[in-house]
């Protein structure tokens, strides 16, 4: 059996953390195993290989610091609401992106496929994080190749954090939506923020009074289109935070109405249309 030796470990672990921070700062987007070869790195790499195999099978993933970047606060204030920014600088090559939170029990947080009405240069969303973990972003290019980037995020307890209200209260108004637009200027993509009221119950949240687990109820499919052309389609998961908020870009020539179709795993189905703002000049 392994012995408990925190003293002996602290020096190496601290330097590991330091190395990781350094690698995050200097080599933003590089996989964690570049940080060094401690047991922990090996364990995290093994974990990632297990997950990526379960999602991508035998397809090869190449590290990238150009095609996709994943950004998150190094230390999240609220583990149930961790903002993630995915940046795809070579947007014209991007067909889809995958977001994976390695140490969440359900690691595959989101799969987003872009359509012709999208500007896939940036996507922001908010997730739950269960433990200090690597967060992987995988870009799928139009020629069918996969590229991975990683960021270590410090947060914990997000998947099981209760919502602080009754289930009925949390479900009130589920499916209500709002959309905000920010114009990028002439020829620039328009940025849109979609907000959906939905508790996105993870199924891992215990009702503190009855000690039953609130059944999982979460948005598992989200389709956004502009005037009939697909912007993006997302497969979501229990790792998406309650009251999902997603920022995305619309291709410069995309005009409204923007139609959103959201579905949850309990046969919830909601549709809303939003008009894009008319040019101000």
């Amino acid at each position: 059996m392994t012995t408990f030796t925190p003293i002996g470990m602290s020096a190496t672990k601290r330097s590991f953390t330091a190395a990781l921070c350094l690698s995050a700062a200097v080599l933003a987007g590089w996989p964690a195993f570049a940080a060094g070869a401690s047991d922990t790195d090996a364990e995290r790499l093994e974990r990632w290989q297990e997950i990526s195999k379960s999602i991508f099978g035998d397809r090869k993933l190449e590290p990238t610091d150009a095609l996709i970047k994943v950004d998150a606060p190094p230390r999240a204030l609220d583990a149930a609401l961790v903002p993630i920014t995915l940046t795809m600088p070579e947007k014209d090559r991007i067909a889809a992106i995958h977001l994976i939170i390695d140490d969440n029990p359900s690691p595959y947080a989101a799969h987003i496929t872009f359509g012709p009405a999208a500007d896939p240069s940036e996507v922001k969303l908010r997730v739950r994080i269960n433990n200090y973990t690597n967060v992987h972003a995988v870009a799928e290019t139009k020629d069918g190749k996969l590229y991975e980037a990683v960021k270590f995020v410090k947060a914990s307890g997000g998947c099981s954090a209760p919502m602080g209200m009754s289930d009925e209260e949390a479900l009130k108004g589920a499916g209500d939506m709002k959309m905000k637009f920010a114009e990028g200027g002439a020829g620039k993509p328009m940025e849109a923020t979609l907000m959906i009221r939905h508790p996105n119950f993870s199924g891992m949240q215990m009702n503190q009074v009855t000690r039953d687990y609130t059944p999982a109820r979460y948005i598992n499919k989200l389709d956004v289109s502009a005037n009939g052309k697909l912007v993006f389609s997302m497969n979501g998961d229990i790792s998406i935070a309650s009251n999902p908020v997603i920022n995305f870009g619309l291709a410069p020539d995309s005009k409204g109405p923007i139609k959103v179709v959201a579905m949850d795993n309990q046969q919830g189905h909601w549709e809303h249309s939003f008009n894009t703002p008319s040019p101000s000049n």
């Binding site: 392994t2 408990f4 030796t5 003293i7 602290s10 433990n131 410090k154 914990s156 999982a216």
Partner: protein, 199 residues
């Protein structure tokens, strides 16, 4: 005997300057002066916990690091992640319990009330891990604001262990300074106690 190792707890006591009031066993609505329950805590498993545990030592990460040289028996009683009912079969469900390296993970061992056979199994497992020496240092932990490890420590105090330590900050307090490792449920604990097979 009450020994408070945490400086933060000392400050809290200095500020309040009085004995914590004892009131009914509803969840505390403030982290300050949470009273110790008479016996085990049987209320909601998550909530503000006391800064003390009669008969045990409350340790923070500094105290735990100092204790490490004595190789205490580390007992993690955190609950396992609950797989949501109806979780889609085409998505990966890969729970990984990250914890303090070298710990023995007995999820739910801080439950109260606890089935007597299960409690006996817990005690016999701890007896094995301590080599039958009730003066060997033992540390219980789970997560912050988790009563399970408080109860588990209480259970050991009641059963004559003289050097019980409660690490209230749990895995989160640990991972702030050290790295964690993925643990499997203790094999002996995973096996149901004799006579419980049909449960």
């Amino acid at each position: 005997m009450i020994r408070i190792v945490s400086a933060a707890a000392l400050t809290l006591f200095a500020l309040s300057g009085s004995v914590p009031p004892v009131h009914a066993a509803g969840p505390a609505d403030s982290p300050v002066n949470v009273p110790e329950p008479e016996g085990f805590w049987t209320g909601a498993p998550k909530g503000y916990t006391p800064k003390t545990l009669k008969g045990a030592t409350v340790v923070d990460i500094d105290a735990l690091d100092s204790l490490a040289a004595e190789k205490p028996v580390m007992i993690d009683v955190a609950l396992a992640d609950q797989k949501p009912a109806g979780f889609p079969t085409d998505r990966p469900w890969l729970p990984a319990h990250r914890s303090i390296p070298g710990s023995v993970w007995m999820p739910g061992a801080g439950a109260a009330p606890m089935d007597p056979a299960r409690e006996a199994q817990f005690l016999s497992r701890v007896a094995y891990l301590t080599g039958g020496d009730k003066s060997k240092p033992v540390v219980t932990f789970c997560h912050p604001e988790c009563w399970g490890s408080w109860n588990a420590a209480k259970r050991l105090v009641q059963n004559g262990y003289s050097r019980v330590h409660w690490f209230a900050d749990g895995v989160e307090g640990w991972q702030d300074r050290h790295d964690t490792t993925i643990l499997k449920v203790d094999a002996a604990w995973a096996a149901k106690p004799a006579g419980e097979a049909q449960r």
